[in-house]
């Protein structure tokens, strides 16, 4: 999985953030690292692990 500048700009557009020109190259590198990490997470053999943040219906 990878991402090019066009994909990154599209994601930023959807998120509603303006990415300064000086940020584009390092942000693209960071995004690629992030996508690699997402692949790593996706490959971890989880059974029925619930997300660690659980909803508590009791009134705080």
């Amino acid at each position: 999985v990878s991402a090019d500048e066009q994909t990154m700009r599209a994601l930023a557009d959807v998120a509603g953030i303006a990415v300064p020109t000086e940020d584009i190259d390092p942000l693209l590198a960071a995004l690629r690292n992030n996508l690699e990490a997402a692949q790593t997470l996706a490959a971890i053999p989880l059974a029925d692990d619930e997300p660690i943040v659980a909803f508590d219906p009791r009134w705080p």
Binding site: L11, I17, D23, N34, E50, I52
Partner: protein
């Protein structure tokens, strides 16, 4: 060197109670040392001199009248500039919050004030605790070197003697790293042990607030004062707060600790650090602690899960500022905030599931081996120089910072308490830290182990003098 600033927090408290020193004298000695050392170490973002003098004077009045509030009464303490201080700037190391003056105290600050502490100033943090920039703070032992982060100022101030204790925050090692590289003790408490209310946030499920001090006893005294539930903070726990300092007297024989060598000794780890750590483990063994080897392969998953959660959570907190004040951020911080905006929801949820998976695996290991703690080097490599760090950045996968993060963030990912204690020095004179990671809300056992270790070693008694080397 004024011998007053060489005292530990507990010793200073004893002298206050016996009236052999006053709070005003402690404060004056500390301010004098600050004036001497700040040009070289830059531990403080701002000094609260006027209010500190009033607090010291009030403490002296109360102590004279035998109205003793506890072990922090009259003691000068530093607070990381991420914690709100009513009427005093809280800027989180960033231009984004320049001039921000909170209208209430963080709960940790309130508790310190209630305990009679004298708040001497706000200590330097990396911008918003993200660890992406290089603040002015310099290592207490060698001003060319990394001071730790993000609670850099707190670690340096305690090491050099310009605070008897300090408050830091830790989302991925930000208390333990500055403790380790500056040769002091630092505790990342169990998630929820100390309220996060009024502390600039990164992650609502990984941020912790905790103490740095010169000894384990001092850390125990500080935690006892700042721990506890808070009705306005749903993440703060009402688990009972123990008398952690009193608990130090209990023996450590038959306590079992585990070493996970595959995870905590990566190929990049330094042989000198590893050898020093093994000697520290021998000391624990000599105290009657059972040391066993364990395997927890799931620890490898902690870093990608933790980073995914922190990056997304932090961007949520900064959502408005990123849109209105983007140019005010340091570029590398801004890039991480932009990255969080681009993360996909399934990745975030997957990361939260992986956290549970890692938590279960660690719990199994603790139960199967009867562990009270895992032990590991706090940082597996020698403290890098600032120049080495500037040569690369975390965004590009810097080795030093990624090793530091890997070694520490797993405790945040699963919420466990972790105590870093000095366990030696490199040949070139830089401190080395050992971390003890315990069961949830069992800070007491970590303190016992750390304190027992201190009784057999003198690493925690050594003090840096960078201001003497300024020429």
């Amino acid at each position: 060197v004024n011998p007053i600033t060489e005292l530990t927090l507990a010793e200073a408290g004893d002298q206050l109670r016996s009236r052999s020193v006053s709070s005003a004298e402690l404060l004056d000695a500390t301010l004098a040392l600050i004036e001497e050392t700040e040009p070289f170490v830059h531990a403080y973002a701002g000094l609260m001199i006027e209010t500190a003098r009033r607090e010291a004077a009030q403490a002296d009045i109360e102590l004279r009248e035998s109205r003793h509030r506890g072990p922090l009464h009259g003691i000068p303490i530093g607070v990381k500039d991420l914690c709100y201080t009513k009427g005093f700037p809280t800027e989180a190391g960033s231009e984004v919050l320049a001039g921000f003056i909170p209208d209430f105290d963080a709960t940790v600050v309130t508790k310190l004030r209630q305990a009679g502490a004298v708040l001497i100033g706000k200590t330097v943090t990396h911008e918003f605790a993200y660890g992406q920039n290089v603040p002015a703070t310099r290592n207490a032992w060698d001003t060319r070197r990394y001071p730790g982060g993000s609670s850099a100022g707190s670690g340096v101030a305690v090491a050099i003697g310009t605070a008897f204790g300090a408050i830091g925050t830790d989302t991925g090692g930000s208390i333990r790293a500055p403790a380790s590289v500056n040769g002091v003790v630092g505790l990342k408490p169990t998630f929820g042990r100390v309220s996060r209310r009024g502390v600039v946030a990164m992650s609502a499920s990984m941020d912790t607030v905790g103490p740095l001090a010169r000894t384990v006893r001092d850390c125990a005294l500080l935690l006892g004062a700042i721990a506890g539930g808070e009705r306005n903070d749903s993440t703060a726990s009402f688990e009972p707060v123990l008398d952690y300092a009193q608990g130090l007297i209990h023996p450590v024989e038959e306590i079992t600790v585990g070493i996970e060598r595959r995870f905590f000794f990566p190929p990049e780890s330094d042989p000198e650090i590893n050898a020093t750590f093994d000697q520290a483990v021998d000391v624990l063994d000599g105290l009657g602690v059972n040391v066993v080897e364990v395997e927890i392969p799931e620890l490898e998953y902690a870093t990608p899960a933790g980073v995914a959660v922190v990056v997304a959570d932090t961007s949520d907190w900064h959502r408005k500022f990123l849109r209105e004040r983007a140019a005010k951020y340091v570029r590398d911080t801004r890039i991480m905030l932009e990255l969080g905006e681009l993360m996909l929801a399934p990745t975030y949820i997957r990361a939260q599931k992986v956290r549970r998976h890692v938590q279960q695996a660690v719990r199994r290991a603790f139960d199967e081996h009867g562990l009270a703690a895992l032990v590991a080097p706090t940082i597996p490599i020698p403290t890098p120089t600032i120049d080495e760090l500037l040569a690369d950045t975390a965004v590009r996968g810097d080795i030093a910072l990624s090793l530091l993060l890997r070694q520490n963030i797993f405790a945040n990912v699963i919420g466990l308490p972790s105590l870093s204690v000095p366990c030696g020095f490199t040949e070139d004179g830089m401190p080395i830290g050992m971390q003890l990671v315990g069961r949830p809300f069992d800070e007491a056992t970590l303190f016992r182990l750390g304190h027992a270790y201190e009784t057999q070693t003198d690493w925690h008694t050594r003090r840096p003098t960078p201001h003497l080397a300024r020429t």
